[in-house]
């Protein structure tokens, strides 16, 4: 087992060993590869090393104590917890503008060099795909434990720095307290 494709296969086997899916034959093949490939010994580690690392994941999982109760949280707040989806077109435009501005600003001292990394460019490009489909700027809230679910829609205008300026309820939940709470929450977010 030599060469790049074999090291890729070894990485996949190391993953299989990590999640307890490797057969005896696969474990043998993995050992065989490590015996001949010093790079993989250093990068992937032997079976014991894999177990040692994965024990940390198991320990972290077993130590979890957080037990949120969505229903209790709702009762405590006296109104349904907000769970909203937004993406007002204005917000998207403002963020694109901010992204473009950041790119421009960064490229100035760069003497023509690529001042923005590929990751940053990807992140900014992803904005269109992530935010554009949600131009409606809709908010919804589900009161778990209440007799019926409640749907509310709002739109938020934001300035070029992503600071919300105004929130309007476009479809009321029929409960003024909930409408007001949603707008309050929406206004607290930096878009």
């Amino acid at each position: 087992m030599k060469g790049l494709s074999d090291c890729e296969a070894a990485a996949s086997m190391a993953g299989a060993i990590a999640i307890g899916e490797a057969s005896d034959a696969q474990r043998d093949a993995y050992r065989g590869h490590l015996a001949e490939c010093g790079r993989c010994v250093g990068e992937l580690g032997g079976e014991r090393e894999i177990e040692r690392v994965m024990a940390v994941v198991a320990q972290a999982r077993d130590n979890e104590r957080w037990e949120p109760d969505l229903r209790r949280a709702l009762a405590r707040r006296g109104s349904p917890r907000r769970a909203w989806r937004w993406g007002a077109a204005l917000g998207a435009i403002a963020i694109v503008a901010a992204g473009a501005f950041a790119m421009e600003k960064k490229s100035e001292p760069g003497n023509g060099g690529p001042a923005i990394s590929a990751r940053e460019a990807r992140a900014i490009a992803a904005l269109g795909t992530q935010t554009a489909p949600r131009r409606e700027g809709q908010a919804e809230s589900l009161a778990v434990g209440a007799p019926i679910g409640v749907t509310t829609a709002f739109s938020v205008s934001v300035n070029s720095r992503g600071v919300p300026l105004r929130c309007t309820i476009t479809k009321s939940s029929g409960r003024s307290a909930l409408d007001a709470a949603l707008c309050r929450a929406a206004m607290e977010v930096h878009y």
Binding site: E8, A11, S12, M13, A14, G15, A16, A18, I19, E21, E43, L44, G45, E49, I50, V53, M54, V56, V57, A58, Q59, A60, R61, N63, E64, R65, W66, E67, P68, D69, L70, R71, A73, R81, R82, A83, R85, I95, A98, G99, A102, R119, E120, A123, I124, A126, L127, Q130, T131, E140, S141, L142, V144, G145, P147, I148, G149, G162, H190, Y191
Partner: protein, 174 residues
Amino acid sequence: MEACREIDRTAAAQARVETLVLAYQTKLARYIRRMVGDAEAALDLTQDVFLSAHRMLQADPSRELTAGWLYRAATNGAISFLRRKRILRILPLDREIDRSTWRVDERSAASVDLQTALGRLAPEQSAALLLTSYAGYSSSEAAEMLGTTATAVRQRVCRAMRVLRSVMKEDLER
């Protein structure tokens, strides 16, 4: 008559969502908190998952909603959240760890090391590690949720493991 049917449907959907909430809220919220590193955001995203379930059941009350469906929705929600967060902040792009939202008894070396490693991984790699070794799904089940192959999931787990290993090493050297 139609209005009565609508109310019946809403009530039935509500009852089924409540059952799902009781059975999965803790597991899902913990999974999402590991994904995004923040309890408050995890609570919002967890509720988003149940909201989607409610909408789906209201539209089709006979629809079967499995745990896998909930985890898939949770994964998609967490990945979108992380992308949005990265976009909004532009820089830096790494996920920071807000330890203040973690209880003292949860801030063990193992927990902090894992969260640090997750913060350095691409969301899809974090999801591969968490869906398998945290939530207990096989690589094929996780692959279905992530829209990839079992081999790719195993490779992502391997990548995640390498990052975790380097975090553990840094921790020892400190």
